[in-house]
């Protein structure tokens, strides 16, 4: 039962909330450390700050922009979670 509701929440956060999130992202949200724009990476469900090389997770459609939630991008390359996203960003 719990699992089912979680899946539903996840879908909701990923679909309906996603577009609205992108609008607010482009207009208002920035990296908390550098105040530079964030890039949305749908594959890893995160917001990437290219200026400082940190990615911030989006959990259930909620962007977590507290510095301690940020992960340095090098770690993610090791984990191969973010590979495709970074390739897209560079091209």
């Amino acid at each position: 039962m719990v699992r089912v509701s979680r899946v539903l929440l996840f879908k909701d956060g990923g679909g309906g909330g996603g577009n609205a999130l992108l609008t607010v992202l482009s207009e208002i949200l920035v990296c908390p450390l550098s105040k530079q724009p964030l890039r949305h990476c749908p594959d890893s469900r995160s917001l990437v700050s290219d200026a400082v090389g940190v990615s911030f997770p989006i959990v259930n459609g909620i962007p977590c922009l507290v510095p301690k939630d940020g992960k340095l991008l090098e770690d993610q390359i090791k984990l191969k979670v973010d590979d495709s996203c970074i390739a897209k960003g560079e091209s």
């Binding site: 999130l21 208002i28 724009p37 459609g61 909620i62 962007p63 922009l65 507290v66």
Partner: protein
């Protein structure tokens, strides 16, 4: 966390109501607003379309808090208001410069370590002529508890340690606004006295608001006998005839605007073209 999610609280509600009421005093509308941590739930519940908001960003340090708010979002049917939920820190505000019309904070900012820094970031995030509106707990808050706790500790341990978080004084609030660079700063104070059935009930209420000691270097153990002694001192010094104990909450409301050419300001010294003597002559004669 369960303590913090009890929902309705009359004291918090009246502060939030008072804060939101100020939006109606402005002719301006605030299409894009940011609501900082603290009593987000009360603000959302009591907003009732005030301030002409179109986008409202709710921000709190705690993911769990934000998640609960987001999950209950559907209950609040609002027309033309989009609400976004973000986990963020006031001291590292993830908001673009010049992108907001309003920053509102209800009983949250007294928790920040670097209050001036947080306020400067709030000002940067505002558009020119944007409004910063905040309610914080002032230094007179829980003075009865401070006194009772100090006496109990002096009596039992021969010394005191800080049991209650330090809070801003009224004069600090004005300085903070000026230091953060807000124009037309305004500060006013309200005191609420809440009556409890017992001192223990007061502690329970404080916990439910999440307003227990935030000091890092505190002594973690409050011995049982000191707690009981505090309750006894509290009851005997401040208890009313009907057996209730009062607790004072001082709320400081701060208002500041981001600078804009349309705002009134003092003229340069010596720029006057008429003398006060002439004015007195003119009006003095007229009134006689």
């Amino acid at each position: 966390m369960a303590w913090l999610m009890r929902g309705k609280d009359e004291f918090v509600d009246s502060v939030a109501e008072n804060l939101l009421d100020r939006l109606q005093d402005c002719r301006k509308t605030f299409p894009t607003a940011l609501c900082l941590g603290g009593s987000l739930e009360a603000i959302r519940r009591l907003l009732h379309g005030r301030g002409g908001m179109e986008k409202l960003i709710m921000m709190d340090m705690s993911f769990d808090m934000i998640k609960v708010l987001k999950d209950t979002d559907e209950k609040f049917a609002r027309n033309n208001l989009e609400t976004f939920y973000v986990v963020g820190d006031e001291e590292f505000l993830p908001i673009k410069e010049n992108s907001l019309d309003l920053v509102i904070s209800c009983l949250g900012l007294h928790w920040t370590n670097d209050l001036p820094g947080a306020m400067i970031q709030a000002r940067l995030a505002l558009r020119p002529d944007g409004l910063f509106l905040a309610a914080i707990l002032g230094g007179e808050t829980l003075k009865e508890l401070r006194i009772a706790c100090t006496i109990a500790q002096m009596e039992r341990e021969g010394g005191i340690s800080p049991r209650l978080s330090p809070l801003a004084q009224v004069r600090d609030a004005g300085n903070l606004l000026t230091r953060a660079g807000f124009s037309l700063p305004g500060v006013d104070v309200d005191e609420y006295t809440v009556k409890y059935d017992s001192a223990l009930e007061l502690i329970e209420h404080l916990r439910s608001m999440g307003e227990t000691n935030a000091l890092f270097q505190r002594s973690n153990i409050l011995k049982k006998d000191i707690a009981l002694a505090t309750a006894a001192v509290y009851q005997s010094m401040f208890g009313g005839e009907d057996g209730t104990v009062p607790a004072t909450f001082q709320v400081i409301y701060m208002t500041g605007w981001k600078e804009h050419p349309s705002q009134q300001r003092a003229k340069r010294r010596g720029s006057a073209t008429a003398s006060f003597g002439d004015i007195q002559k003119h009006f003095g004669r007229g009134s006689c």
